[in-house]
């Protein structure tokens, strides 16, 4: 299977630039909103720590998506001893106990 997009590079940009420009601005607005609430908070929340690492990974060239998925994944291999909650957090808390 040829894994290239059937679209030319220009067609990819023509099709997807505007919607991704919008997403970029949404991320920027989210971070500014958080700063207005408390600019120091990000460093104390494991989700935002992972988010900040993910933003850096976007600038690191191809393979971005899998790199970010791994950054946001639980790297451990042992099952939890007991159910802690029903829903996942969206990022792994490296400081969690057990």
């Amino acid at each position: 299977m040829d894994s290239r997009s059937p679209l030319s590079p220009k067609e990819v940009v023509d099709e997807y630039f505007i919607e991704n420009r919008t997403r970029l601005l949404e991320i920027a607005a989210f971070l500014d909103r958080l700063d207005r609430a408390d600019a120091a908070y990000s460093s104390r929340d494991f989700r935002m720590q992972a988010f900040t690492e993910a933003l850096a990974a976007i600038s690191a060239g191809s393979g971005r998506l899998e790199r970010i998925q791994l950054l946001l994944s639980d790297p451990t291999t042992e099952p939890l001893g007991a159910l802690d909650r029903k829903s996942a957090f969206g990022a792994y808390d490296k400081g969690r106990k057990g």
Partner: protein
């Protein structure tokens, strides 16, 4: 274009959704047993739910000329409760002979606890003992990779399992190769926020090819879309993919997988139909 949504929790949807699905080409859905969004108070509630899945929903879908099939299971969100799980598993065999039950699912892990793994393992044993196909739920977000690995390890521990009769669902870019390389089918579920977008699903088809991959909406009681598969079709067209490739992903592949149950009545399209499309 005709399509099949192999993962749709229609008990949570309105008849308007059935109508939208029918108007956009849906000819069949398969509905895995799932969590209601709150924990049931006992196993009797599952009896009623399984009756709803096997009696009420097929009739409701038929009004829109959609075939409705279902999977029986103790869902992963309640599977940590071992006592309840044992009671529910004991009730499942009596439903397996019903005409629209095509397998055991969705089984798997949620937060990847020891209890969830024990219940999941027992459900794989149940499926094998009754010659049933299997639909696997994989966990979301940070639990996806770890949960998928353990789910596959459990499956692979059964030497008699027929891998081509098992679909591992909710695959993403970092888990899709793990699933396909082991010989299982993979499902991509198109769902806002916690799963994959139509654009990423098309990316995965481009990167990994269409072999043993199906797409579904996984619509349920949460933010979700009953016509997510038609949006995937539109995204494929936006990328200039051929109608034949699109039809393979949304119709031929689910038919190939689901037809392994003798109860599934939709037959593969003839080659000449594809040529004429």
């Amino acid at each position: 274009m005709q399509y099949i949504d192999h993962h749709a929790h229609m008990v949570s949807r309105t008849t308007d959704d059935y109508q939208q699905m029918a108007l956009t080409g849906c000819v069949a859905v398969t509905e895995p047993a799932f969590w209601a969004g709150w924990d049931r108070s006992g196993a009797d509630g599952f009896d009623d739910y399984f009756r709803q899945l096997t009696e009420f929903e097929p009739a409701r879908a038929a009004q829109y000329r959609i075939q409705h099939y279902t999977w029986m299971a103790m869902n992963p969100k309640e599977a940590d409760d071992r006592e309840l799980s044992r009671a529910v598993l004991a009730r499942i065999p009596k439903f397996l002979d019903r005409p629209t039950v095509i397998g055991i699912g969705e089984i798997g892990l949620n937060r990847v606890t020891r209890n969830e793994i024990a219940t999941y393992t027992e459900q794989v044993e149940l499926a094998i003992a009754h010659g049933q196909m299997i639909l696997i739920h994989t966990p979301h977000l940070e639990d996806k990779l770890k949960g998928t690995r353990i789910s596959i390890d459990v499956l692979n521990s059964f030497p008699t399992i027929e891998r081509e009769r098992v679909m591992v669902d909710h695959a993403e870019e970092h888990t899709l190769p793990l699933i396909l390389d082991q010989g299982y089918w993979a499902g991509l579920t198109l769902y806002p926020n916690t799963k994959v977008s139509a654009a990423r699903a098309v990316d995965m088809i481009e990167r990994f090819g269409p072999e043993r991959i199906c797409v579904a909406g996984a619509c349920d009681w949460g933010p979700s879309d009953a016509i997510a598969v038609p949006r995937f079709i539109f995204e494929m067209r936006r990328r200039r993919h051929s109608e034949d490739l699109i039809r393979r992903v949304v119709f031929d592949n689910p038919v190939q997988f689901l037809s392994q149950s003798p109860k599934f009545k939709i037959r593969p399209r003839l080659a000449r139909e594809g040529a004429l499309a």
